[in-house]
Amino acid sequence: MKLELIQPFINAADAVLAQTLACSTRVANVSMEEQAYRRRGVAALVTVKGDIEGRIVFDLEPRTAMKVACTLAGGELPESDEVVHETICELANQVIGNAITTLNDQGFRFRVQPPQVHTAEHGMGSSEDTEALVMCFDTPSGRVFMNIALRLGARPKA
C-alpha cells in the first residue's frame, strides 16, 4: 500500500487520540495482515468509495474501549455496550474523517459512509489488489488498532 495513503491515517490517529484522550500516543507497530482480519473487541467499520476504495476498521479490546469511552465521557459509564460502541464509532469517525480531509486536499476524491459497529469476527484481509495494514497505537488507556485495506481506484486529479 502506498505511503501517501497511509501517512494521513497515522497523523490523524496520533493527533485525534492525543487531543481527545489528552495524552501522548505512540505508534507501537505497523504490519501487513496476510490473514483475514480478526476482530479484537469493539470495532467500527468505515467504507470508502471513489479514487480510493476499501475499508478501515477501528478496533479496541473491550477493556480499552471502556476506558477510552469513560475518558471521553469525562467519568464513569454504565456497563452498556451501546454507549461504548457509540463512543468508539465517533472516535473512528474523527480519526478517519481527519485522514480523509488530508487525502481530499491532496486530490483524491471519494465518499465515506458513517461508521458502523463491526460485529463480524472476521473480515477481509489482504488480496491481490488490496493490501491490509494494521497499525497499533499505544495510549494510556491501552492499545488502539486500525486495520486499513485500501486500493487506488481511478488516478487522482492533478
Binding site: V16, L72, E86, N93, Q94, I96, G97, T101, D105, P114
Partner: protein, 147 residues
C-alpha cells in the same frame, strides 16, 4: 468542562438556543455539554438531515450545529433546505471531514462557518460568538462564568 462567559441574546438577555444535529449520540451529548458551558440551552436535536429540517421549523433555534456525513440526508443538503425555508438561519457545520471542497460547498449552501472535529470548546465558543455577532442582533458575553 471549562466554563466560558455566557453568550446571551442582546434583545432579551436570554441564553442562546441551539439545535444539535449529528448521527452520533456521543457527539450530540458532547456538543450539548459544550453549549451548556457557553451558557446556552439545547432547543432540540436530530440524528439526520431530514429530522433536522423538521426540528428547525419546530424549535426555531438561534444557532444550528450541523454534522456533514449522516444517514438519510447529509448536513450540507439539510443546511441548504433549512436556509431556503428560513433565510435567517444560522448554521455552523461541525464535522471531522473538513476538506476545502466540503467547506466551500457548505458555505455556498448557506452555512455560516465550519468547525473541524474533534471540537475544541474554545474554538467553537469563538465561532459561535463570531456568527452571532455577524447580524448585530444577538450576542452579549455576560461577565463572569456561565451558570
Amino acid at each position: 468542562m471549562q466554563q466560558f462567559a455566557a453568550l446571551l441574546r442582546s434583545k432579551d438577555m436570554q441564553p442562546l438556543r441551539y439545535l444539535v444535529v449529528d448521527d452520533s449520540i456521543f457527539a450530540r451529548k458532547n456538543l450539548t455539554k459544550m453549549i451548556e458551558s457557553f451558557g446556552g440551552r439545547l432547543a432540540g436535536e436530530a440524528g439526520d438531515g431530514c429530522t433536522a429540517i423538521t426540528e428547525y421549523s419546530r424549535t426555531l433555534p438561534d444557532l444550528v450545529l450541523m454534522d456533514i456525513i449522516m444517514p438519510n440526508m447529509e448536513g450540507i443538503e439539510a443546511s441548504e433546505r433549512i436556509v431556503r425555508l428560513h433565510p435567517q438561519a444560522r448554521i455552523v457545520m461541525v464535522s471531522s471531514v473538513g476538506y476545502q471542497e466540503n467547506i466551500i460547498a457548505a458555505l455556498q449552501k448557506g452555512a455560516r462557518h465550519f468547525v473541524q472535529k474533534p471540537v475544541k470548546p474554545e474554538v467553537l465558543y469563538d465561532v459561535v460568538k463570531y456568527v452571532m455577532a455577524e447580524d448585530g442582533t444577538t450576542l452579549t458575553a455576560a461577565a463572569g462564568a456561565a451558570s
